[in-house]
């Protein structure tokens, strides 16, 4: 699978869902759980199957306006691609 395109609509894969508590948000998946903090959490909370990858990027580029937008695109694209390989995210 290639990285997400601007039109991709990332979402949690079937069998993966949010769990834990508000202070300790986690993604639960078949083999385990992943604790999410900071940017990772901000990205995945936007992966609702509605927003496009382009929209998610522009929201986060606004939020982190001191960071090179191309770097944000590359980092988040790679993050989602890795989770897709683990079958935790689909897009």
């Amino acid at each position: 699978m290639p990285p997400p395109t601007d039109a991709s609509q990332p979402r949690l894969a079937t069998g993966c869902r949010w769990g834990g508590t508000e202070e300790n948000r986690m993604i639960l998946y078949p083999e385990g759980a992943m604790k999410l903090m900071g940017t990772g959490r901000q990205v995945l909370e936007r992966c609702d199957g509605q927003r496009t990858f382009g929209e998610i990027l522009s929201e986060l580029q606004k939020e982190f306006d001191k960071t090179d937008p191309e770097k944000i695109r590359a980092d988040i694209g790679m993050f989602l691609e890795q989770l897709q390989r683990k079958r935790i995210v689909d897009y």
Binding site: M1, T14, P30, G32, A33, R87
Partner: protein, 377 residues
């Protein structure tokens, strides 16, 4: 709390319609009359979540043999746990599957014994293969995560590529390719199941190629056989560190095989809380940490990674649950594993699956090769 349990393994029954020769259940199965009631299981799930656990893995035996399974899954999910059903699929039709999904089942893991029908039924000692295929198609019509589990061994490794191609067609998100681990029935049948080194090396190459080819479509998790490894497996992520197993009659164990250890007494959820058992019981504390370790583990750099290996294997092979796991190449007793490996490699003999229409016939035909798993009283 120094160690945080992550998951409860709910062995809800030892009854099973299959008789797999590689089954890791104890050869002393828990009697049907001793099984926990619905209410007792529900209490286990609530206690597990309260203790901070995140997953409930339903296994057995065959969990579907419990007529209250839907209720148990609903209760585990309501308690806040992620629910995983590990099953042969026998006893599941689309209607019951729908009920389980509605009850909140998150993930289903179906075992396949082979890609070839005769061989699969031969290993499982039951005519189950065709139903499993049908069920897999039904699973894909529902919103639920699907894993196929394939146990590999001497008798099926020669056509691993064919088995992977077969599983691809079932379209799971995940495949678990697990080499047989020698506990319970599998240990009794070890000589017929242990692969040759050549089979193993080919398997590693085939799996690595499949991982690349299927990346993004199917995730492959594979378990390497510890008899051929340099270091032992970190069994259960360490004794009493991550997991609690509740057996059909309510005994709480740190792992699937622990009941074989004669010096330990295991508590029962009918008498003690999960919290007390996790924190206070002698059985959970015995091999936690490093105090108990002998040399060479005690001064080994890897002691925090593999925790001295598997306590049950040390007992089963050496009669000493405090010894270094003989699977470790540094263990003074490693010779016993080396000679088993040597024996396995002395011949490349693979039995041919027997053509038989019934389990009884299969048992007769394969009498000399292995023992099929039986059912509890």
């Amino acid at each position: 709390m120094l160690f945080q349990p992550l998951a409860v393994i709910a062995e809800v029954t030892h009854r099973c319609p299959l008789h797999c020769v590689y089954c890791s259940n104890p050869t002393q199965l828990a009697a049907v009359s001793s099984e926990l009631s619905t209410e007792e299981w529900i209490s286990v799930f609530r206690q597990a979540r309260k203790l901070g656990m995140l997953h409930a893995h339903f296994t057995g035996g065959e969990p579907l043999a419990r007529t209250d399974l839907t209720e148990l899954i609903a209760a585990a999910r309501a308690a806040g746990l992620y629910t995983n059903l590990i099953t042969s699929g026998i006893g599941l039709n689309e209607q019951r599957l729908q009920m389980l999904v509605e009850a909140g089942l998150d993930h289903i893991q179906v075992s396949f014994q082979d890609s070839r029908e005769d061989a699969a039924n031969w290993i499982g000692g039951a005519k189950a293969h065709a139903h499993k295929i049908e069920l897999s198609h039904a699973i894909r019509r529902h919103k639920i995560a699907f894993t196929v589990n394939l146990v590999v061994h001497r008798q099926n490794l020669d056509h691993l590529e064919e088995m992977i191609a077969f599983i691809e067609q079932l379209q799971p998100e995940r495949v678990e390719i697990a080499h047989t681990q020698y506990y319970g029935w599998a240990l009794a049948n070890r000589s017929a199941l242990m692969p040759t080194r050549m089979q193993l090396e080919r398997a590693v190459a085939i799996i690595s190629e499949a991982e690349k080819r299927l990346a993004g479509r199917i995730r492959i998790d594979s378990v390497v056989p510890d008899y051929y490894a340099k270091y032992p497996k970190a069994c259960m992520g360490g004794w009493g560190r991550r997991l609690m197993l509740v057996n059909p009659s309510g005994k709480v164990l740190p792992c699937h095989a622990a009941e074989v250890l004669p010096e330990l007494c295991f508590e029962n959820v009918r008498e003690k809380s999960l919290e007390w058992i996790w924190q206070e019981s002698e059985s959970f504390r015995k091999f936690r940490g490093e105090e108990w370790m002998p040399e060479p583990c005690r001064s080994c750099d890897r002691r925090g990674e593999d925790f001295g290996g598997c306590r049950c294997q040390a007992f089963l092979l050496m009669g000493d649950d405090k010894a270094t796991d003989p699977a470790c190449s540094l263990a003074p007793t490693h010779g016993i594993v080396e000679s088993a490996v040597k024996e396995a490699n002395a011949t490349a003999y693979v039995a041919k699956p027997s053509q038989a229409s019934s389990f009884v016939q299969l048992q007769k035909l394969t009498n000399d090769l292995w023992s099929y798993r039986t059912n509890p009283e």
